[in-house]
Amino acid sequence: MTVVASHESELEVELTVDAVRAAFRAWLTDNAATMDEFRSITGELDEVFAKLCTLQRLLFNAGWLRLGWPARVSGLGGTILLRGVIVEELAAAGYPPPFSFTAMEVLAPAVVDHATPELSAEMIPRLLRGDDFWCQGFSEPGAGSDLGAISTRAVDDGDNWRVTGQKLWTSWASYSNRCLLIVRTGAQDSAHRGLTALFVDMDTPGLTVRPYVSMTGDAEFAELFFDDAIVPKSRTLGVVDGGWNVAMSILGYERGAAAWQRQAWMMARLNDLLRAGKPSARSVGETYEMIHALRLSSRRTMRVLGGGAPAGPAASIDKLMLSTAEQSLFDLALATVPDVLFADDAETQNWRRDILYSRAASIYGGAAEVQRNIIAQRLLNLPRAR
């Protein structure tokens, strides 16, 4: 049992799930007054973003967001389970997830695993502290479900890559200053074998970001245009032509660990719904059943990841449960608080946003059909179509 003391913060806690849970709960109680302004954050995206940044910095400075990360990236040690405890207790106490939470669970582990030690030591603390925001540049006009069709090219130019091509649906790209990009370094027909992962600064000359509006009405999405953009080779993650592995490990985290964050938020939203209206007992039971199922499968994946193993194809169960649970919850919201559909006030804006956003849960991170293909072929070993 390691007891850690961080220099910048006063945090001293034994690195076990129970000890961290107890300590963080106590801290939340002691700091309830400071934290109160983050309880309900509504309004324009820019304001929300700014508030969430402040919340993230507060949590980082107190040491909580450094738990579950290794010392070489300025972490305080312990496994991913400690991050799961923080996110869960924060949600249970009624606070929203800080802006970078998704990037922390989805992208950051891949950077810790695949970047040069210097790069990860520089970049991870910046992400955790809220100095930097990262986006995920996988999808392209011709490569959505089929990542093997990525055609954004990186050409070898001595110490640099020269990148040309287009990405889209890049969430929050206009708020981000770094991007985890998957590009083609092999021949055009090299499919998943000729991909490479790069860590790219968003202010790179030759990279143009064009934000566009998602179905929710938020300017969440962006298209990224790369026109001979120069990326130093020191920003390569993993080996050249090994980008598929990086992408798969990211998808494993996205399907498994990010699902744990999402369920913590769903539990809180279900409780919000009980305050907002009068749902039927049967449908509350069913929605809770779905969230319970998501917790069960996601906890299993968290434990696998915590033990240092890859998430594997079982994470497809988590992703399928995530979309099933989220859509069940917001279908219940539709039935329970239909008035919000006719309102314009800031208070009910989150319901409208969440109801719409829940529709995407079965599309991003691998569509539900793609997860079923993986379950059938990799977990049940059914024959592949010819």
Binding site: G84, V284, G285, E286
Partner: protein, 328 residues
């Protein structure tokens, strides 16, 4: 608690008894093995999981479920010569009634070749939960054969009135908490059995779609078929995780949720596996209908999924928040 090696041995022995004993000897062999002692010890999870997973796998014509409930209702009696009358199918609260001098027994019970020496009947008396136990007054009232959709399940419905005078009746919080614990334990056992039945159906179906060819290819290469079975796989995995989890939690709702998810797994398996088995799965000869029958009659015992969802939902609404289960 046992170490891994002893756990494996116990698991193997119980599975062996279930797989190999002639039906009329199986309970006797479990008794000799010391299963009741294991059930009453801190290893009751092992005793339950091993027995009911095996019951599901082998679709045996007998059950140990009544013993699981008796361990909570009458832990000091001989479990092997006693039995319990469960509430009628679909109910998780007693459906038998005690009023004045009569106990009206309405419920489902396990048929036994020899008449049980002691019957235990959870019942309602003026709306309060009581547990009545005693000897049966006359021959003949105890069913000797099961009928219905799955006569081999060993379960049959019962509707008789007997004089209450000689019965021992427990009342109050003692009765209520014993019943709550017994029902939760029964739901966990059923969750293990239903999950195992669903998994057996999935194995049959996966094997079939891999070997059966139409249009020149295995039917399992069609995406519509793959997705049906992927859904069964998802719910089977979740049912197993939920059943395991129910043993970690002191909240009885975790046991109800385990039974709910096992019911979902069973229903999805019944529907989707039957579909991909095609006409071959619709014959008497094929094993599938035995699994379907068993899962169908077990699902409503101690409350079916729909009923339990409503219960769990109502308790969440009353509390204003969902319970925190499945902790990291």
């Amino acid at each position: 608690m046992m170490d891994d090696e002893s756990t494996r041995l116990v698991w193997q022995s119980i599975a062996g008894i279930v797989a190999q004993s002639p039906p009329e000897q199986a309970l006797g062999e479990l008794r000799e093995f010391g299963w009741a002692e294991l059930l009453l010890s801190e290893d009751s999870q092992l005793a339950t999981e091993a027995l009911f997973s095996a019951q599901g796998r082998h679709v045996v014509p007998w059950t140990g479920l009544d013993k699981v409930l008796l361990a909570h209702l009458r832990p000091d009696d001989d479990l092997w010569t006693a039995t319990v009358v469960l509430p009628s199918a679909g109910h998780d609260v007693p459906t038998s009634m005690l009023s004045g001098s009569t106990l009206r027994i309405t419920g489902v019970t396990a048929v036994r070749a020899t008449r049980p020496a002691l019957i235990v009947v959870p019942a309602l008396e003026d709306g309060e939960l009581v547990i009545a136990s005693g000897r049966l007054p006359t021959d003949g009232v105890w069913p000797e054969h099961a009928g219905g959709l799955d006569p081999a399940s060993g379960w049959t419905s019962l509707d008789v009135a007997i004089p209450a005078g000689e019965l021992l009746v427990t009342r109050g919080t003692q009765a209520a908490s014993a019943w709550a614990a017994a029902a939760a334990a029964g739901q966990r056992a059923l969750a293990h059995e239903l999950a195992s039945l669903a998994e057996s159906m999935l194995e049959l179906a996966a094997e079939h779609v891999t070997s059966r060819k139409q249009f020149g290819v295995p039917i399992g290469s069609f995406q519509a078929v793959q997705h049906r079975l992927a859904d069964v796989k998802v719910w089977v995995e979740l049912a197993k995780l939920a059943a395991e989890n129910a043993w970690e939690e002191s909240d009885p709702r975790a046991s109800a949720l385990a039974k709910i998810l096992a019911g979902r797994a069973a229903r999805t398996a019944i529907k989707n596996c039957q579909q991909v088995l095609g006409g071959m799965g619709f014959t008497w000869e094929h094993q599938f209908h035995r699994l379907l029958r068993r899962a169908s009659v077990l699902e409503p015992l101690l409350g079916g999924a729909e009923h339990l969802r409503e219960r769990v939902g109502a308790s969440i609404i009353a509390a204003g928040s969902g319970p925190r289960l499945v902790m990291l």
